[in-house]
């Protein structure tokens, strides 16, 4: 491992070509990493290299290019398996992203396992992607959704969660790290409580996988989903992990090529795991480049990057708090490098426009978590989310840009 090598942010920045670009004549300050991370050159090259040298459709071809593409595609599956600590590569299903992963589980597992009167537990913190698919299947199956409440800082009410669990609770689907606030949920406790109740747990790992060490066997989650593009990989690729026994018992999600064993007009038999859930020609290039992104993370060391992110978080939290009228939502010890804030009398959209003019990319609005914003009684927040290629100097730029924006708005 690389844990002993001191972290050098300038060296890391060299690996990300986009960080050299200017926005509105100013050096880009990219603080929208929770929406999507930037990509190292190696990931960009992996995509280009695939199309330039061994583009072919995978699995069924009997020629050299197909062999090479298939090998690279399946190597990526093994890399993901190791990355999340799955017990078998058959438990790794490639998807378009987190949203498709949740839809896959809600649709396939839900249709086979949810019955009228059953209950699904989610939380107030959820992204719309972990609300809507469950609403759709709940409506179809006559099940209902129960929501774990939070306090004003975004901390889950675990006593309420315990009370929600009952004989009808079939699954808990919960965001591991809040995309809007950065708060880390106590998923270990949630999983053990749910399992004691005979309830499955799916983790929405979209925001956690890039920051936290993930070992699905140690966590003992039943499903976990995440996106490639938030972990320095390409858009359009994601992962759905599921315990093998569960996946084997689930019906296919979509029908088509790749997922079949034998097709006749009378009856089709389905392929084995993981192919049963990967109908059609997959996103080969981006799956392959996902491995390159994982290689990048492994080489840099997640712990090393996280330690550095922590210094950015502490510094930014401290500096931002000094701005008059600014309030951080989710100012709790157990969080990732995300600062979500509101400023008295200032609409987040106005801030975003004025920050963009100063070359700074932040995200504002409801962060696809409207029920959370409603619970907090706000229209939205301004969210700065940090990656290891960000710097203390950039945080200073943000703070002075905020001062300037506020002066213009007052």
């Amino acid at each position: 491992m690389t844990d002993h090598i001191p972290f050098d942010v300038e060296q890391l920045r060299e690996l990300f070509p986009i960080l050299k670009r200017k926005v509105k004549g100013k050096d880009l300050v990219y603080f929208d990493n929770a929406a999507t991370s930037q990509k190292p050159q190696s990931v960009v090259d992996a995509i280009s290299n695939y199309y330039s040298t061994y583009n072919a459709n995978i699995h069924r071809g009997l020629h050299t290019l197909a062999d090479e593409a298939t090998a690279a595609y399946e190597e990526s599956r093994v890399a993901v398996k190791q990355f999340v600590g799955a017990s078998s590569h058959e438990e790794i299903i490639f998807t378009k992203g987190t949203t498709e992963g949740i839809n896959l589980v809600a649709s396939s597992w839900g249709r086979a396992n949810l019955n009228p009167g059953d209950e699904i537990i989610i939380s107030t913190l959820e992204h719309h992607s972990n609300i809507v698919p469950w609403q759709m299947i709940a409506e179809e199956r006559g099940a209902s959704i129960k929501v774990i409440p939070i306090d004003d800082n975004g901390i889950l009410d675990m006593d309420a969660f315990k009370k929600l669990l009952n004989a009808k609770t079939k699954i808990v689907s919960i965001i591991h790290v809040s995309n809007a606030l950065g708060v880390i949920n106590p998923v270990e406790e949630i999983i053990s409580l749910a399992h004691l109740n005979g309830t499955l747990v799916m983790l929405d790992g979209a925001q956690s996988v890039v920051h936290l060490d993930i070992d699905v066997q140690k966590l003992d989650c039943d499903f976990m989903v995440f996106s490639g593009h938030k972990i320095y990989g390409p858009t359009g690729v994601g992962v759905m992990y599921g315990k093998k026994a569960l996946l084997e018992a689930m019906p296919p999600y979509q029908g088509g090529g790749e997922m079949i064993k034998e097709v006749t007009f009378e009856k089709t038999t389905y392929n084995e795991l993981p192919f049963k859930f990967e109908a059609g020609t997959p996103n080969i290039a981006d799956v392959i480049a996902l491995k390159t992104a994982i290689d990048f993370i492994n080489k840099q060391g997640k712990n090393r990057m996280r330690e550095y992110e922590e210094t950015l978080l502490v510094y930014a939290t401290d500096k931002l708090k000094s701005i008059e009228g600014l309030k951080i939502i989710g100012d709790v010890p157990n969080k990732v490098s995300v600062v979500s804030f509101i400023i008295d009398g200032v609409h987040p959209q106005d801030l975003a426009i004025l920050l963009d003019n100063q070359g700074i990319a932040v995200r504002t609005g409801h962060h696809c978590a409207q029920p959370l914003m409603k619970r907090l009684g706000i229209v939205g927040t301004t969210r700065a989310s940090f990656a290891p290629y960000n710097t203390i100097a950039e945080i200073d730029i943000l703070v002075s840009a905020l001062h300037k924006a506020l002066k213009m708005l007052k």
């Binding site: 509105k24 609409h347 987040p348 959209q349 106005d350 975003a352 426009i353 004025l354 963009d356 003019n357 504002t364 609005g365 409801h366 229209v379 939205g380 213009m408 708005l409």
Partner: protein
């Protein structure tokens, strides 16, 4: 007002106004100022019925019809968008339904704000223009 200047002429006035500004700060300060000075919308129109939902901010537009002309008033919870509401009202209010429906409204591009304000779903500019034209068309029918 409406008798003296056409929509195109009013657009040109704004283009000329904005061309005096050298920096983005001046343009936005002007827009913010327009937002602050916009005549308040009668609270009875600040309802769901008159609301145009953007992804991030809300806009309310109310129109009235008098002597063949459409008159707009509006509001937004975000001040820069409120400035845009003010611009749209300056240009469109007091004209005939046909003039409003036919207005190309090129000035948004010409004043150099469009890259932030027109292209993304994060603001309701496009929706605002569409609603104002729909209102005008309804009055004209």
């Amino acid at each position: 007002m409406a008798e003296t200047k056409s929509i195109t002429e009013l657009e040109q006035v704004l283009i000329d106004d904005f061309s005096l500004f050298d920096t983005w700060e001046e343009k936005y300060e002007y827009l913010i100022d327009l937002g602050k000075k916009l005549a308040p919308l009668d609270p009875s129109y600040k309802t769901e019925e008159y609301k145009i939902k953007g992804c991030q901010s809300s806009v309310w537009i109310h129109s009235a019809y008098k002597d063949g002309h459409v008159y707009f008033e509006g509001d937004s919870d975000a001040i820069i968008v409120k400035g845009l509401v003010s611009l749209m009202i300056m240009v469109l209010s007091g004209h005939t339904p046909k003039e409003i429906v036919d207005a190309p409204l090129d000035f948004i591009n010409a004043i150099g704000l469009s890259s932030h304000l027109a292209q993304t779903r994060s603001n309701g500019l496009r929706a605002m223009i569409k609603q104002m034209k729909l209102d005008a068309a309804a009055w004209g029918s």
